[in-house]
Every structure is written in structure tokens, then in C-alpha cells.
């Protein structure tokens, strides 16, 4: 009857209302997503633009740096430091180098023999009130006092030159003694006698393997303390 018809109409109405609601929800969501999409696209475009700008800028900078005719201040400083270091190295290789300190002049005397760099010795010379040797590491058997008495005030260059010669002579002789003992240990009989300056050596030696030879006695005298070669050699056979 009538009620069934009314129910049917009611149901239809409800259905349509629900559909309408769903439709509205869908449209709302769609609108939201569309706006989100628009946002993201905008962001993407902005980032792209930024990237483009940066890349263009970098190229610009590289283009500027490669200009050797106008080095920046940092490069100049680095070059200065490099060349100073090389200069100091050169001085060190000459054997005499110095440094000014608040205590005066500090000299380093390097020694060498046949390509081997050996010991370094030092002098500390205050300049005021007068030039003198305040501290040093020169061994006691080098005649430092004698040299300074003669040359320190009159001819400083000679003083340094002679002192270096003495030191180099001593170091060279000492190295030769050490090498002799090392490389010819089976030739030398007994002990090798030397003095502090290594300028008088006496030793007995035999030629190994030669059973018919008898021991030789060698005496090497180095009269010139600045040289590392002997001035007199005596070989005797007993």
C-alpha cells in the first residue's frame, strides 16, 4: 500500500542524501589534493631555479680564479714562505747558519765528510756589550779559546771559517777511524790507539788469509788539525 510506497520514497531519499554526501566528500578531497599538487609543483620550480642560479654562479667563480697574472695575497705569502724555507735549507747545507734571538746571535755549525752529514755544533754569541762566546757545544779538545783570542774580535769571518775547518777536520778523522774499525775489523790486531782529536793513530794490522805475512805496525800523524788526511805515515814491521 501507501506505507510501502512511503518507505520506498524515504529509502530513496536517504540513499540520495548519502550519495550526495559522499560526492561532496570526494570533491572536497579532490580539491585538497589539487591544491597540494599545485604547492609541490611550485616548490619544485623554486628549487630548480635555485639550482640553476648556483650552477651559473660557480662557473662564474672558476672563471675568475685562473688568473696567474694577479695572484691573491694568500698565494704570495705561501710563495714567500717556500722561498724562505729553501734559503734556510741552503744556509744549513753550507754548514754555517744563524738565528738572532733576544740573547744575541745563535750560530749552528754543521759538519760533513764525503757526502755524509755529521754532527752540528752551536755557539751563542751576545753582541752587547761586546761580542763574546756565552755558551757553546764545542768539544773541549778543539782550541776554541785560542781561536777566539786571535780572531773573534779582529776578523769574525776568519774565526768562523777556521773553527769550521777544525770541526770538519776532527769529524772527518773520527768518521774514518770508525769506518776503519768497522770494515777492517779482521785486519786490525789488538786495539787501535787514538787520541781525542784523532790526529795520532797507531795500530797493528795483518793481511787476513795470508799466513806468511807478519804484523805491520802503522802510525798515522795528522799535523794539520783542519785536514782529514794524514801528513806522516810510518809503517814498520817487527
Amino acid at each position: 500500500g501507501v506505507f510501502a510506497h512511503l518507505e520506498m520514497l524515504e529509502a530513496r531519499d536517504r540513499r540520495e542524501a548519502v550519495e550526495q554526501e559522499e560526492k561532496e566528500q570526494r570533491e572536497e578531497k579532490l580539491a585538497f589534493l589539487k591544491s597540494r599538487l599545485r604547492e609541490l609543483r611550485l616548490q619544485r620550480d623554486q628549487l630548480r631555479e635555485k639550482l640553476d642560479r648556483l650552477e651559473k654562479g660557480k662557473v662564474g667563480k672558476e672563471g675568475m680564479a685562473l688568473d696567474p697574472a694577479h695572484p691573491g695575497p694568500r698565494e704570495v705569502l705561501e710563495w714567500k714562505i717556500r722561498s724562505l724555507r729553501s734559503l734556510l735549507q741552503v744556509f744549513h747545507l753550507t754548514g754555517i747558519s744563524g738565528k738572532r734571538s733576544r740573547r744575541g746571535l745563535c750560530l749552528s755549525l754543521g759538519t760533513a765528510f764525503e757526502g755524509s752529514y755529521l754532527d752540528s755544533f752551536h755557539l751563542e754569541l751576545p753582541v752587547r756589550p761586546e761580542l763574546r762566546i756565552r755558551r757553546h757545544s764545542i768539544p773541549a779538545f778543539i782550541p776554541l779559546e785560542q781561536l777566539s783570542r786571535e780572531f773573534l774580535h779582529s776578523d769574525f769571518r776568519s774565526f768562523l771559517g777556521r773553527l769550521c775547518q777544525h770541526l770538519n777536520g776532527f769529524v772527518g778523522r773520527r768518521l774514518q777511524v770508525e769506518l776503519l774499525q768497522e770494515h777492517f775489523s779482521d785486519w786490525i790486531q789488538g786495539t787501535l790507539h787514538r787520541n781525542s782529536l784523532c790526529n795520532l793513530l797507531t795500530f797493528t794490522y795483518n793481511i787476513p788469509g795470508n799466513s806468511r805475512s807478519f804484523p805491520f805496525r802503522a802510525r798515522l800523524l795528522y799535523r794539520d788539525p783542519c785536514r782529514s788526511l794524514p801528513t806522516e805515515v810510518t809503517v814498520s814491521c817487527s
Binding site: 738565528k99 779538545f141 790507539h193 782529536l197
Partner: protein, 346 residues
């Protein structure tokens, strides 16, 4: 063999610690390997020494050989003796090429010309050290072997190290013989004494580490940096002060180990400075007093004082000048004049 020689050898062996007797007898070289094999080194020292004496009897030892054994003992135990340093002065300018045989001959000759009754023994060591042992007698008495003097000399240096236990009258004789033998013309005692002979040598031969300023980069010794446990919760409040002290210490003392001295003595003859109102001393006389610093290792302990907070850095130059001035006995007097500052006499 002379009984006195036998007794001397016996007593010398008794001095040696038991573990070292074999080594020293081998160094001595007077007894053969075969003879040394027969000795039992595990028995009581008394017995060992008796056996050694018997073997020496077989080889007819005389006082010369016995003296060599004594030098060997004293060379190894050199730090048991107190050493004094003497400096010689040269008149001439000639550079000599030191001849050991010449030196020995002149030394013996000079000494024997004044005193017949002496025992003189020489022994050379690897580091160019010449050890001389002198036993002193008198005109009528044989040398006393139990109180010899020892002299250590490095050729071509002006320094002599003497450990003496002799009559005061014999010292000038010894000095004379030394300067004649080594071609010098004068000798004086330096104000430097210690038990450690090697440290004395380090000081006068300038072998100890000194800090010289150079441009040449020395290999940095990493050992100097203290390996602190880096606990981040601990904050170093006075880091800059610590670094300042370390820097000053390095400047003054250098990087390496210090020579070993046992004491520094300062004899003060300065005026007592007090508040005039207090008027402690009526007479205006110098207040004499003696300040002595003693330590098993004086310079190392001085070096560690500022870091330990017990002294201000930089330390007084009177303390730090010790190795450079090569002295540990000082006399400090008042400087007469307008400025009454004290100064150190040379």
C-alpha cells in the same frame, strides 16, 4: 809472591760483589781461562778470594798487576768516589798531537824524580779516557796501596778529574807531574765536584743537552708531551701557565737528561738586610751563611720544581747557571759601590 801483594789482592777481591768477580777477573786477564774455570764462584767470598790469591801465587803476581785489578774495580764503581775537576792552562800556542807513550814517560819521570816510593799504573779505555792510579809512599816507607789517588784524563783537553785520598802535600806533586806530562803550564781546581764522573765529564766537555735556537728543524721529541688521560670532564684552568713553565724549562735546561750532581753550595757573605728599626745586628758585618742544596739528582729536581708548583718559573739564574758555568760551589759577596747588589765571584 810478596805477602803484602797477596793480602792486597785478597782484600780487593773481597770488595767485589760475588756476581761480578768472574767478570772482573776476566777483564783483568792475569789469570788464564783454565785457571778461572777451577774457581768456584758460588762459595763464600772469603773462600773465593783465598783461591784467587793461590792462583795469583802460581802466576807470581806482583804489585803492578794487583794495581791493575784495583783500577778495573774503581773504573766500574767510579761513582763510589768523590771526583774533583781541575783545569789546566796552556802557555804556548802549538797544537800537539798527543802521544800516549810520551805522556806516560813524562808523568812517571816527573813523579819519580821527587818521590821514589810510588806505584804508578796506567790503563786506557775506549772513550779515550786515561786512568792513572798512584799509590803514595814516603822517603822511607813503601807506598800505601790502600789509599791510592785516581786521575782520569782525556787527551788534548785541559781538564783532569782527580779522586784523591792522599796527604795534602802530595797533591802539588801530582799536579806538577800532570802539567809536565801534558804540556800545560798551570793547573787550578775548579769549583766542581760530584760522585758521578760521567756527569762531570758531560759538563766540562759540553756533552749535556743544551737548548740552542736554530732554524733547522730538529726532530721533535714526542716524548716531551705528557700523555694525559684526556678526560673531557677535567678542565685545565691554568693551561697557559703550564705551557709557559714548560717553555721556560726547555729554554733553560734543554731537552735531554741533566748531568748528575749531588749538591750545590752557596757561601754567602752578604749584608743582612732587615728593617732598620728591628736592629738585629749591631755591627755592620756581612752575615755569613752557607746554603747547601742536596739531592740524589740536583739538576733534575730543580728542573721539576716549577712544574710541581714549588718554585716560580723562571728559576733563579744562580741555580740554572750550574752546568754552564761548570761549578757547584759559589761564593756570593756584596758588590761594593753605589748599588749594593750581590754578585757571583768567578
Amino acid at each position: 809472591m810478596d805477602e803484602t801483594v797477596a793480602e792486597y789482592i785478597r782484600r780487593t777481591v773481597l770488595k767485589i760483589p760475588r756476581d761480578e768477580i768472574k767478570m772482573m777477573l776476566q777483564k783483568w786477564g792475569f789469570l788464564s781461562e783454565a785457571q778461572l774455570q777451577t774457581l768456584n764462584f758460588h762459595q763464600v767470598k772469603d773462600n773465593i778470594s783465598q783461591e784467587v790469591v793461590q792462583l795469583c801465587e802460581e802466576n807470581s803476581a806482583d804489585i803492578k798487576q794487583a794495581a791493575v785489578l784495583d783500577i778495573i774495580y774503581n773504573h766500574i764503581y767510579q761513582n763510589k768516589r768523590m771526583w774533583r775537576v781541575y783545569q789546566m792552562k796552556k802557555s804556548g800556542e802549538e797544537l800537539e798531537y798527543f802521544d800516549l807513550t810520551d805522556f806516560k814517560k813524562k808523568f812517571k819521570g816527573r813523579l819519580r824524580s821527587t818521590l821514589k816510593n810510588v806505584t804508578i799504573t796506567f790503563r786506557e779505555y775506549e772513550d779515550n779516557a786515561i786512568w792513572i792510579r798512584v799509590a803514595w809512599g814516603t822517603l822511607y816507607r813503601k807506598p800505601n796501596q790502600y789509599k791510592p789517588s785516581y786521575v782520569v784524563y782525556h787527551s788534548q783537553t785541559p781538564y783532569v778529574f782527580i779522586s784523591a785520598s792522599m796527604l795534602k802535600s802530595n797533591l802539588p806533586l801530582l799536579c806538577q807531574a800532570l802539567i809536565v806530562a801534558s804540556n800545560y803550564h798551570d793547573i787550578r781546581e775548579m769549583e766542581l765536584r760530584s760522585h758521578s764522573l760521567n756527569s762531570l765529564k758531560d759538563i766540562v766537555f759540553k756533552r749535556y743537552s743544551q737548548n740552542f735556537q736554530t732554524y733547522h728543524p730538529k726532530p721533535l721529541q714526542e716524548g716531551n708531551v705528557e700523555p694525559e688521560n684526556e678526560d673531557l670532564r677535567i678542565v685545565q684552568e691554568n693551561r697557559s701557565e703550564k705551557e709557559r713553565i714548560q717553555r721556560l724549562n726547555r729554554e733553560v735546561f734543554g731537552d735531554g737528561p741533566q748531568p748528575k750532581l749531588e749538591f750545590a753550595q752557596y757561601r754567602l757573605e752578604t749584608m743582612f738586610k732587615s728593617d732598620p728599626k728591628m736592629d738585629v745586628l749591631d755591627k755592620k758585618e756581612p752575615f755569613r751563611c752557607l746554603v747547601k742544596f742536596s739531592s740524589p739528582h740536583l739538576l733534575e729536581s730543580l728542573k721539576s720544581l716549577p712544574a710541581a708548583g714549588m718554585a716560580d718559573a723562571p728559576l733563579s739564574p744562580l741555580l740554572t747557571c750550574i752546568p754552564q758555568q761548570a761549578r757547584n760551589y759559589f761564593k756570593i759577596r756584596e758588590k761594593k759601590g753605589l748599588f749594593p747588589e750581590s754578585f757571583v765571584s768567578p
